[in-house]
């Protein structure tokens, strides 16, 4: 168990590390998939299997590919590396570390409810019912958001193509 946890942790740290230190966008995209897969692993560890599946499908499958498309469309790939410059590194690092320290400090100071983690076997069913009962509004709302985003993205992209 611990080994898996450490492995997953390493995956995430490695992925994030590459994203942080790499200048190559393609590398970063791949590293992102790695990290996302690691996070999916975390979800499994946290008994959130459905979430893990969604993570892999949508994130690793959808988002990363979208980003890759983005890279391809905005950089006519002709063999050269797609590099991104970096700036403000020192202050950004300071800020990031400060935030991390603060959050970590707050986390360590807090007492969490000691209740035992629940084991649920019928997660998918439960979530499905919740979507249509407890969270019906959210469910409807996200449908509409998807529509809006779809129309928006399509319309903007179409215009870009037309011009």
């Amino acid at each position: 168990m611990l080994a898996i946890q450490i492995l997953i942790g390493l995956m995430i740290v490695l992925g994030v590390g590459i994203i942080v230190f790499s200048r190559n966008i393609i590398h970063a995209a791949y590293a992102l998939s790695l990290a996302l897969l690691g996070i999916a692993g975390v979800y499994v560890l946290l008994n959130a299997e459905l979430l893990a599946v969604v993570q892999i499908l949508i994130y690793a499958g959808g988002v990363v590919i979208l980003l890759a498309f983005g890279v391809m469309m905005t950089h006519r790939l002709r063999g050269e590396k797609v590099l991104s410059g970096a700036k403000n590194q020192f202050p950004a690092a300071t800020t990031a570390i400060a935030i991390f320290v603060i959050l970590a400090h707050s986390i360590s100071e807090t007492n969490f409810p000691g209740s035992k983690a629940l084991e649920m076997n019928n997660q998918v069913e439960h979530i499905g019912v919740a979507f249509l009962t407890e969270h019906i509004v959210a469910f409807e709302l996200i449908a509409f958001i998807l529509l809006v985003a779809l129309v928006g993205a399509a319309y903007l992209a179409k215009l870009a193509a037309n011009e």
Binding site: I25, L32, V42, V63, I107, A117, L150
Partner: protein
């Protein structure tokens, strides 16, 4: 799962968050910045998933699923705008965008 473990997951989230912030602040390429945003959102999802395991209603997990979906929407819109920018400005770096200015 005991308290200590919760802490570690939360530390992980904080780590992701900080890394995301660093990426957002430093990388010049817009897509790179979007990658950073993904990290930020994932950190939040990790928090939600962490707490979800104590919740019989699984609200955290549900929340995280919604959030994942929204992220896709956000990325798609961002990419559509990016496409327009690339067409118009021929640049893909954020700091080269300076048409909208004060003076």
């Amino acid at each position: 799962m005991n308290e200590e473990l919760i802490r570690y997951y939360l530390y992980l989230a904080a780590f992701l968050f900080s890394a995301g912030i660093f990426v957002v602040l430093t990388k010049r390429n817009l897509i790179f910045i979007l990658i950073g945003v993904e990290l930020l959102l994932n950190s939040a999802n990790v928090i939600l998933a962490t707490f979800s395991q104590f919740d019989p209603h699984l609200n955290g997990q549900i929340f995280a699923i919604f959030s994942v979906v929204l992220t896709v929407c956000e990325v798609s819109i961002a990419l559509a705008i990016l496409l327009n920018i690339y067409r118009n400005h021929k640049v893909s770096n954020l700091d080269e965008l300076r048409e909208v200015s004060n003076e």
